[in-house]
Subunit: 113 residues, 2 copies
DNA sequence: CCCAACTGGTTTAAAAAGTCAAGCGGTGTG
DNA sequence: CACACCGCTTGACTTTTTAAACCAGTTGGG
């Protein structure tokens, strides 16, 4: 009897966060290294700015990523998104997905309709 | 580089599947043991039948789960959903999420608005 | 100098996805 | 017989995601 029950189980909540569209992609991109907004959008591949903004705000509110605004005087202001230590530890999750994907989703399977 | 590029990278596709709403919950519930439709819906907690049906079809088409119809004569016909070997190996992903959640999402963090 | 392209976003409306509640055929139980 | 359960399907409604346009500022080329 440990399954279900929304509010209590941390795993349930974790899944709730990680299954939001683009979140895993964002984390994966950021695991490679910090990125600016547009740069991140490109790395993630296909996410529109509106959704991206919202996801980033959410992830920041959960303290998984941090936003830093670099405005060197005379230089173009740039927002830089980085993973926090907690966010970086999602590496294990990405690794698990990676390992699984290479074994079970390599070629076929994911065929469209 | 190696990031991005939808169709090619298995990880990208894996994320695409796993981030669909309820998928991770379904897998988690099924890792505990095979379940019937309504039973699964209850275990997952909050997913409606329409979406559940669709997810199950998708997961079955990816060969992550298998549907078996048990109709013992004189007994109520029942659909049973089971993880395939490939699906069962998602255990590692769930474990990773579980481990991460317990460390970084235990108490606070996931506060509502 | 001026235009084009880049930065990090916001806004809007339309499309897609998910949800709720009801209901259908069937079985089994009081 | 009525009512509760099974496994879904349907249709109307709400939420989420999307594309596209646009703002303000910076930098580079012609």
């Amino acid at each position: 009897m440990s399954t279900a029950h929304p509010g209590f189980c941390p795993v349930y909540r974790a899944i709730g966060v990680l299954q939001e569209k683009w979140v895993l992609h964002i984390v994966r991109a950021l695991l490679v290294g910090e990125k600016g907004f547009n740069e991140l959008a490109r790395a993630v591949g296909g996410c529109n700015s509106a959704t991206l903004t919202q996801r980033l705000e959410h992830l920041e509110s959960l303290a998984l990523i941090a936003k830093r605004t670099e405005d060197s005087p005379g230089k173009l202001a740039r927002s830089v998104y980085t993973l926090t230590p907690a966010g970086r530890e999602l590496q294990s999750v990405i690794d698990a997905i990676d390992g699984w994907a290479r074994e079970h989703l390599t070629a076929a399977e994911a065929a469209p309709a």
